[in-house]
């Protein structure tokens, strides 16, 4: 039982999970206190499932996830103060039809009153220089704008760790650079999941996941170099023809 101050930002103990009869994660153990951790892996490696487990959205079959001492799968009330998650597709994340309602939702979930939530919405929009977004409808926003809205909605809740599940995939280069700049400025710890090594350059630590297991862990430069070499090797092969199961 570690106290709050001593509690590790990230502690995964022997996580295993099967979904619909298929084993996705095999005994993943991972501890860390770095502010910028990357998780790299191919599509289907289990990294997105791992993101959901870390965010407490999916309880593992065995093992335990604790973020800053909070059991995020069981203690959901504490979990939403501790961890936020940014999905790859912002349309899977945005619940409300207007910008301020989307941001205010998380704040009222934290128990804030309607007026406190409105003040929080204004504050976060101003922090990002987006005060003019107040009241705008979500539907006509571009993909990058929607993704930024998701980020602001999460940051408004001031979580201590943010899980990024490939939020940059599919964005054009300028949008990706702009969003990366916003992410770099975030105070919270980031756990960034990606299939693209370029997005994790400069991170404090990178973990490589393959077939639901950790196969590499260390400094970003080393792990990303190994990962890239292996991806290029696989690129010359034809495992696209292999069927699952």
């Amino acid at each position: 039982m570690g106290g709050w101050t001593l509690a590790q930002p990230l502690a995964l103990n022997n996580i295993s999970l099967a979904l619909e009869g298929r084993a996705i994660l095999h005994g993943i153990t991972l501890h860390g206190d770095q502010r910028r951790i990357g998780i790299v892996g191919r599509n289907g490696s289990g990294k997105s499932t791992l993101a959901r487990v870390i965010a407490g959205l999916q309880a593992p079959d065995s093992g335990e996830v604790r973020l800053f001492g909070v059991d995020v799968a069981r203690d959901r009330k504490a979990a939403i103060r501790t961890v936020g998650i940014l999905f790859q597709n912002p349309d899977h994340q945005i619940i409300f039809p207007t910008v301020d309602e989307e941001i205010a939702f998380g704040l009222t979930q934290l128990g804030r009153s309607k007026s406190e939530a409105a003040a929080g919405v204004r504050a976060i929009l101003e922090e990002f220089g987006k005060a003019h977004w107040a009241g705008a409808a979500v539907h006509p926003l571009s993909q990058g704008q929607k993704q930024l809205l998701c980020l602001m909605a999460i940051l408004a809740m001031r979580p201590r760790l943010i899980v990024l599940d490939e939020p940059l995939a599919g964005l054009d280069i300028p949008t990706r650079m702009q969003l990366t700049r916003y992410l770099d400025g975030v105070d919270a710890h980031l756990l960034h999941i990606s299939h693209d090594p370029a997005t994790l350059v400069g991170y404090d630590r990178v973990i490589w996941i393959a077939d639901g297991r950790i196969v590499g862990d260390g400094a970003a430069r080393d792990v990303l170099a190994e990962f890239t070499a292996d991806m290029e090797r696989l690129g010359g092969m034809d495992d696209i023809s292999d069927l699952a199961g």
């Binding site: 597709n89 409300f96 207007t98 939702f105 009241g135 409808a137």
Partner: protein, 198 residues
């Protein structure tokens, strides 16, 4: 497309949603008891004036939203030409456009949270007897958020169909369309859970 709150801020944005909905309700009922062509014409003119008041951008986006009514107007026109009752036809057509126009107007000038506030107020008696109404408010927001998205995905699905078929999409497109709705629901459930659930 679904009419969300207009980004053009009008004087009516600040009015009480309950009052606007009440007025809409009365106006709609009034339209249905009003059996005179000049009366319906006047109501139609008032509706147009309300659209014109906030400016050209608002007017245009409002009128575009009314264009979807044309097939009905066509049917009414043909029907009443055949039955030789043009006055009745004009009355029905004007009423249709005015009624939908006024309803759109309330939607365009009322923020969703204010709309939900009215529903909350109406649902207050339910809460007093112990029924949770938060789910209702959330449900309303979700439908408004996801209807245009589903419609866009449905259009994409029809395009994908037509790209490989000389015919228009058949009923079989309903299955993948429903699957999209189900999968979106699973994502939404996850997004709700990620921010504290219900």
């Amino acid at each position: 497309m679904i009419s969300l709150t207009s980004p053009v801020e009008t004087w009516a944005h600040g009015w009480r949603a309950g009052a606007k909905l009440g007025a809409l309700c009365l106006a709609t009922m009034g339209l249905f008891v009003l059996n005179s062509v000049p009366g319906q014409g006047a109501a139609f003119a008032v509706m147009l004036a309300l659209y014109a008041a906030p400016g050209a951008v608002f007017f245009r986006s409002g009128i575009v939203r009314l264009r979807i009514l044309w097939p009905f107007l066509l049917v009414i026109l043909l029907w009443h030409l055949v039955t030789a009752t043009p006055a009745e036809g004009a009355e029905i057509a004007l009423r249709l456009v005015t009624a939908v126009g006024l309803a759109n107007l309330v939607t365009m000038t009322t923020r969703l949270s204010d709309m939900i506030g009215v529903v909350r107020w109406l649902a207050a008696p339910l809460r007093r007897i112990g029924i949770q109404t938060r789910a209702l408010e959330l449900g309303i927001a979700l439908v408004i958020r996801f209807t245009p998205m589903l419609a866009a995905k449905g259009a994409a699905l029809s395009r994908a169909w037509r790209a490989r078929s000389p015919r228009r999409p058949g009923w079989r497109i309903v299955l993948p369309f429903t699957l999209i709705a189900i999968d979106d629901a699973e994502h939404v459930a996850e997004a709700l859970k990620a921010r504290g659930g219900i």
